[in-house]
Structure formats: structure tokens, C-alpha cells
């Protein structure tokens, strides 16, 4: 494998590792809540000789919140499942909005460490594209991670998708105070990201503070 291919492999592994670590952290928190809530129901039953109406309502509320949390956890697992299946084929037909939004959800915890919100403003129509969803997500991840690192707490990053004659674009816009980062501090260099975009016959451009990734429809 040549050095460019090796670099890509390493970046992909690091990217997948980061996503999985963040996911497991999130799910552990979900499980911790479910375990405590279930334990609390047991404790309430054990602590009272007779349950009054207030206790019954309280117990019902706890059971409902357990059910809600299980539903949220299951939905979250669906995001990781879709993320994993993006890597089934090198190129496939997929919806750009869904692909980018999946990544946005999976990166929520990473961004939330600095209370940074990743907002979305997607073109309302389905944006079908035939390309590599895994490589697209890698590029978007690298840009988002770099922006999260240099933005101050409580900042915002905008994610927009739009369709043009050139193809379909993802526009990533940081909003907030920034600490400049040197090229050496970036996980993924600009030339590396531009190379990936070229492999997909697309473009990776910096337009002011924004980053625009454009891919052809097929």
C-alpha cells in the first residue's frame, strides 16, 4: 500500500475509533440511567409497607422514563448501525442529507464537551448521490473535529446541504470565537482532504471560514 493509501487507512481507523468511543460513552450513560431508575423502583417498593397514590404515580413516571430512555437508546443504535453499513460498499447511492445528519448526531457528544451545537439547514428535497458515503463522512468529520477544537465554548457550527449544477455540496460554517490552529495541530491536513475529494471527482474548498465539499451526483 502506498503512503497516501496508508494515511487514508490510518485516518479512517482513527475516525471510526472516535465515533465508537463517543457512542459507547453515550450508551453507557443511557444504561446507567436505566439501571438507576429500575433500582429506584425496587427501592420504593421495598421501603414502603403500603404504596399510596403518590407512590404509585411516581413509580409509573419512573417506568415511563425507563421506556422513553430505551426508545432513545434504540434510536441511537440505529444511527451507529447506519454508520457501520455506510462502509459496506466503496460506492453506493445514498441520500446526502441523511448521511451528513447521521454523522451530526453521532458527533453530538464530542461537540457537547465544549457545549458546541452542530445545527443543520438541509435542502428539503432528498439529495440522491452515487459516491462513497464513508469517505464523505470522513471528510466532514475531519472538518467538524478541527472546528470544534479551535472554537470557543458555547459556539455553533452550521451544516448546510445544497444542490447545484456542479453537484451536491455540504457547507460547514463555524460561528464563534476561534483559537487559530497550526497545520501541524490538525488531524487531517487540507491536501489530504483535497485528495479524498479528488478521488471522488469532487472538490474540497475553503471559502473564508467556511468549508465546502462538493461531490458530483454520479
Amino acid at each position: 500500500m502506498d503512503s497516501a493509501g496508508e494515511e487514508l487507512r490510518i485516518m479512517q481507523m482513527q475516525f471510526i475509533g472516535r465515533i465508537i468511543a463517543s457512542f459507547t460513552h453515550e450508551v453507557k450513560n443511557h444504561l446507567a440511567f436505566i439501571k438507576e431508575s429500575a433500582g429506584l423502583v425496587g427501592d420504593l417498593m421495598a421501603s414502603r409497607e403500603h404504596l399510596d397514590v403518590k407512590d404509585v404515580h411516581h413509580t409509573v413516571d419512573i417506568m415511563q422514563s425507563i421506556e422513553d430512555q430505551v426508545r432513545k437508546s434504540s434510536e441511537f443504535c440505529s444511527y451507529l448501525n447506519r454508520f457501520a453499513h455506510r462502509m459496506d460498499c466503496l460506492k453506493t447511492t445514498f441520500d446526502m442529507n441523511e448521511c451528513v445528519d447521521d454523522l451530526r448526531v453521532l458527533m453530538h457528544r464530542i461537540a457537547n464537551q465544549k457545549r458546541i451545537v452542530i445545527g443543520k439547514a438541509f435542502e428539503s428535497d432528498r439529495l440522491q448521490i452515487h459516491s462513497s458515503p464513508a469517505l464523505l463522512q470522513l471528510m466532514v468529520f475531519c472538518v467538524l473535529e478541527e472546528m470544534i477544537n479551535r472554537l470557543a465554548m458555547n459556539s455553533r457550527i452550521g451544516l448546510k446541504t445544497l444542490s447545484s449544477k456542479e453537484g451536491i455540496s455540504v457547507v460547514i460554517s463555524p460561528e464563534g470565537e476561534e483559537t487559530p490552529q497550526s497545520e501541524a495541530e490538525r488531524r487531517c491536513s487540507i491536501p489530504f482532504l483535497q485528495n479524498i475529494a479528488r478521488r471522488l471527482e469532487g472538490a474540497f474548498e475553503e471559502k473564508g471560514k467556511d468549508v465546502v465539499i462538493t461531490l458530483p451526483r454520479s
Binding site: 446507567a32 427501592d43 464537551q113
Partner: protein, 131 residues
Amino acid sequence: MTRTKVLLVDDEVEFASALAERLQLRNFDVRAASNALEALASINSDTPDVVVLDLKMPGMGGIEILKTIKKIDRTIEVILLTGHGDRESVQEGMQSGAAEYIMKPIDIEELISKINSAKVKGDKNRAESRR
């Protein structure tokens, strides 16, 4: 017999609320805080015996909060709450003065045992510092 005062610091509010209630049923005097600001305000208004502190929190993280607590009052004992894989952070926390750590999802009896041990340790340190 005075109840052990516990401050729970975790940004997962619902988890902290359920855990607080379980500890209250076991006769602990429990407060909860969801961030550093709330935690430090709570400590300054009513000093806890033990703080149960989540390591990974948005903004001011667990380690920084731990160091700040120790500067306010080194006799307040801190138990770190952590997910699997935070070994380096746990090590840093223990080196920064944490008494113990426990992994999520927690075992309530294990947590209570650690809280009781930490309380004893804190009482001993307070007694020694008064001499």
C-alpha cells in the same frame, strides 16, 4: 446520628436525580449539581462530606472541578464516576486527590461502601487538621 452529606455532580440530570433519590432512601443527605458552577456554589453554601463527581462533563471537566474542590477544602473527599476506558483520566484524578472511583453503570451498594469509607477518611483528616 447526623446523615452523611453527599453532593452528586453529573450533567446527566435524570441519572443524577434517580441516584440521589436512591441514596436519600438510604438515609444520605443528597444534593445534585449538573455543572461546575452549580457544584461550587453548592459546596460554598453547604459543605458536603463527599462529592460524587462525573469525570467527563461539558465545559469545566471533572479533573478541574476536583482540583478546585481540593483548593476550597482538602478534607472534602471526592469519588470519581467514570465510563470504561477513561483509565488515564482516572489515574490523573487519583493523583489529584480523589479518594476512589466507580464505573458507570454503578452498583449502588459498592457506591455506598465507597461513600462511607470516604466519609471516615474525611472525618479523620478534619480531626487532624484541627489539632
